[in-house]
Symmetry: C2
Subunit: 194 residues, 2 copies
DNA sequence: GCCCAAAAGTGAAACGAGTCAACTAAGTTA
DNA sequence: TAACTTAGTTGACTCGTTTCACTTTTGGGC
């Protein structure tokens, strides 16, 4: 008899996964990314090293456990935008609503510091975003009935996905996001200097 | 007596470095990146593996031996642009003149294929470009007397450095570069569909 | 309740990238 | 020639990651 929609197996699996991710994050924050080995994490979570790799593709992935379905959300933002709203505006909304909320969360501070101070993680985080370029480009192209590899759509996808990296660390991230979308909408203008 | 401006030591060092880089590239092209170990390369160049790492920071760096001073050229393109030319146009010129020439060189084909077919190298090449973001952003800001971390300048720098990745593989790279610069100049417009 | 196939986890061994310390040998300089 | 510097060697070591052969758990059908 299946009590819940999720089997015990699934629950236990998720539990070990979570135990590993928790142990990893704790140790990383305590000692720093480079000072923690996979073996350390496995020991702390009381599993074998092979089990760690059954749940995560690599060491960097341990840090970004909750990173799923960004791609799906992005594509949905374009495909299911409210009628009359332009693609650019839909993306602007989505970035402001979704990403800003995550990035400016107070408890996020030490996590952000961990990522920023570890080149390996910075690179990984950046790739995570830009990896979705192809899918987002296709979604944008679909919105206009254009070819899936249309250059303008690919460029827009990439430029939008660059925004988190550009806005990160600004004192007013919302304003930064708006500024960049204005550039994409109206073209680049020299900064106004005092 | 020092015959040339460069000592024998320096010459021998450079020779070793070149021998390693040559052996590496040859083996990579022959067998594929993943099928060649550092040990293979060291053996082929008749040095020890530690010597390889004295000359190159890592395995990927062996592939991009001749990649220097892109940053210097970029900054010069902005700082020493012809009077009356806008920063955007100067960058457009520079990308068309410098990058396109390199990228479309016929002998470059198999090298490009090596990089494109190896995810590790793709990622590294991309980071190589975008690593110069900060420097280019500062150069652009200087051109307007703006702050070195001005957001609009940082965004432009990044977007320009993304162009190689976006234009690579298009059947007409020059046209692709022009299209993208038009987006940056006038803002993004939906593609025209048949 | 029992059996079986699938799934989760184990443990040890191995591989390749990269580092380190102690050494050798060659090049440079006085 | 003696003294100093530095490229390169050697071998052992760490660490991420994979492979493999093995045991345990568990869910479903009988």
């Amino acid at each position: 008899m299946t009590v819940s929609s999720i089997s015990r197996r699934e629950r236990k699996k998720a539990a070990t996964r979570q135990a590993i991710a928790d142990a990893a994050l704790r140790l990383f924050l305590e000692r720093g990314y480079d000072q923690v080995s996979i073996r350390d994490i496995a020991d702390a979570a009381d599993v074998s090293t092979t089990t760690v790799f059954k749940h995560f593709t690599g060491k960097e992935a341990l840090v970004f456990d909750e990173d799923q379905d960004r791609e799906a959300q992005l594509i949905a933002a374009v495909a299911r935008r409210t009628p009359g709203q332009s693609v650019l505006d839909a993306l602007r909304r989505h970035v402001l609503d979704t990403w800003i909320r995550i990035e400016t969360h107070p408890q996020r501070a030490e996590f952000t510091h961990l990522v920023d101070s570890t080149p390996e993680l910075r690179a990984y985080a950046e790739r995570m975003w830009t990896r979705h370029t192809k899918a987002l480009a296709a979604a944008i192209a679909d919105a206009f009935g254009a070819d899936h590899d249309d250059l303008a759509c690919a460029a827009l996808a990439r430029y939008v996905l660059d925004i988190p990296a550009l806005a990160r660390g600004r004192h007013d991230p919302r304003a930064a996001v708006e500024t960049i979308f204005d550039i994409l909408t109206h073209g680049w203008r020299p900064p106004i200097t005092g």
